[in-house]
């Protein structure tokens, strides 16, 4: 479970995140929806403690990220905005490298690597160097290396960016499996359809603030709009940047 309380972060005079609070429960997919520049990536970076919040705090399964950053990170699997691989290493070596950095060794490392390779369907390319991988293969490898230590919590920044329809479908199926296994999943997107198709709980962010949150159903009721798209436009005040 991930809890964000009153997060605030400025870069110089620019207040990227002004007031973000939400609770991402286990066994649920929580979507961070907002137009480009709304503060989603900055919020996620505070969740995985690459950025320190100016105010507020983040707890991962009850661990305060500012008190025990490494302990919190061991419970996190992160697909950040930048997802470069080591092109002279094979997919498997890329995954094992991150497994070792997470503290896995020996047979545990091998079995966990086997497990994520199977879960993401990377079996036929695991021994190929990642140079020349398709966008889909690269994202899958990046997700696999983020999950190799079987973290309870998953943070994914725009995971479907650049993926084709088939890759997107298989990624959705994978995230639903993770939800069924009781994982806490948070992913950010600026694509409304994406969030609507997958999320149990939606946190709408605009101009650095949480402007609404709830299930798709609750958001429709809250705005009095029958159509989800209209509901979002009403909440944010503009439809700009929300369409695929």
């Amino acid at each position: 479970m991930i809890v964000a309380e009153n997060l605030h972060r400025a870069f110089g005079a620019i207040e990227a995140v002004r007031e973000v609070s939400f609770r991402a429960e286990d066994g649920r997919i929580t979507g961070l929806l907002g137009p480009n520049g709304a503060g989603k990536t900055t919020t996620l970076r505070m969740l995985y403690a690459l950025l320190q919040p100016d105010r507020g705090r983040v707890t991962i399964d009850g661990i305060d990220t500012q008190r025990d950053i490494q302990g919190a990170r061991r419970r996190l699997g992160v697909l950040p905005d930048s997802r470069g691989l080591y092109k002279r290493l094979t997919a498997r070596e890329n995954i094992e490298y991150f497994g070792r950095l997470q503290g896995l060794r020996g047979t545990e490392l091998v079995s966990r690597t086997d497990a994520v390779i199977a879960a993401l369907g990377l079996g036929d390319i695991e021994h190929r160097r990642t140079e020349g991988f398709s966008q889909g293969q690269r994202v899958k490898t990046a997700i696999a290396r983020a999950l190799v230590h079987a973290p309870q919590n998953l943070l994914l920044d725009e995971p479907t960016n650049g993926l084709d329809v088939m890759a997107t479908r298989s990624l959705r199926a994978f995230l639903r499996e993770q939800r069924s296994a009781g994982r806490c999943i948070v992913f950010s997107s600026h694509i409304m359809q994406e969030v609507a198709a997958l999320c149990d709980y939606i946190v709408v962010v605009a101009q650095g603030r949480v402007v609404a949150s709830g299930s798709a159903e609750a958001l429709r009721e809250q705005t009095g709009e029958a159509n989800l798209e209209d509901a979002f436009v009403k909440i944010i005040g503009s439809g700009e940047g929300l369409m695929a």
């Binding site: 970076r45 995985y48 690459l50 950025l51 320190q52 950053i69 490494q70 302990g71 990170r73 061991r74 996190l76 992160v78 697909l79 950040p80 905005d81 930048s82 997802r83 470069g84 691989l85 080591y86 092109k87 002279r88 290493l89 070596e93 490298y97 991150f98 070792r100 950095l101 997470q102 503290g103 060794r105 990046a142 290396r145 983020a146």
Partner: protein, 396 residues
Amino acid sequence: MSNPLHGGWWTVFVKEVRENLRDRRALGMALLYGPLFGPILFAMMTSFIIGKQLDDAEKPLALAVIGAERAPNLIDFLSQQGVSVKPPPADPDAAIQAQNEDVILRIPETFAEQWQDGTPARLELLVDESRQQTHAAINRVRGLLERYSSQIARLRLQLRGIDPQLGAPLLIAEHDLSTSQSRGGALLAMLPYFLILCAFLGGMYLAIDATAGERERQSLEALLINPVPPTQIMAGKLAATAVFALASVVNCIIAFMIGLHYIRGDEIGLNLTLAPTSALLVLLLIAPVALLAAAVQTIIASFARSFREAQTYLQFLMIIPAIPSILLVVNPIKAVTWMLATPLLSQSLLINQLARGDDLALLDIALSVSGTLAAALLAALVAVRLYRGERLALAV
């Protein structure tokens, strides 16, 4: 984390080494072209110099003489001294200017007459002093003519009953105290430069790949999110860079040992060898430089946004190893204490000494190693702390 190899740095170290062993460009530069560049250039230059000296020493001097028939005794003397006298070219001045002849001796018509009178008999040498490579030939002819002149002078004095020693008030004796090793040392003066250059070349690509490269391929953020302190990550990268630099230095020393073995230095009285014990001493002196180079390169490359940008900076850095060597060539100085503690300068001084066959004082070695090691550790400390803040971690 009782086992130090289980700290994150070891994982990072192993991965960086493995990844860069697969990079032909990095590997070639670190283990092949970098280390071989110095020794090959050195071998070529040295062979050229030795070959030229052997040529000049052995080659019979062919001297064109105008009016040889006017001084048969002089011509006999020259022939006895190994000079083969040949007829002059049609246009002597033009032959010198066209560089067909190094030197031409002209015996004027007045020669015989002046000789009989006992007045100084005039001889003329046609030369082009601006041509360096003719100096050996000119000096040889000049020397022979002076010897002939003083021989005749002694004979004339003796004929008149005067002790010829009166005509030689000075006797100058030169004692050349250079050993064959120290004469070789002048050539070996370039050795420290090539070795230091190697220390800088060996880790360059890895330093860039592990920092600016990691940023450019957008894997830095994912890497830093792992539960490993950034200092451990940077320590692993730095260790890998230093190991490549060190491997480069070792290869360079071995290449020099092999190369020097095949150069025929002894034929011109030069002792050009690098004994195994000296080689180990050289390695001990250069090893801290490898760490220093790795740390400085890592720091600089960390601030670059792209591989190419980092490469530009680090190529500028390559000028630095040349500075002490150039200083010592332009202005050969005797080492004083502060110099022996100065990185790069101390290695240049001490390896030069070693190459000249002198023994190194234990204190001097300790001063050089500890001075450079201190600088290296300071730079390493800066390097491993670079990614602790947010700024470098996020600047993409």
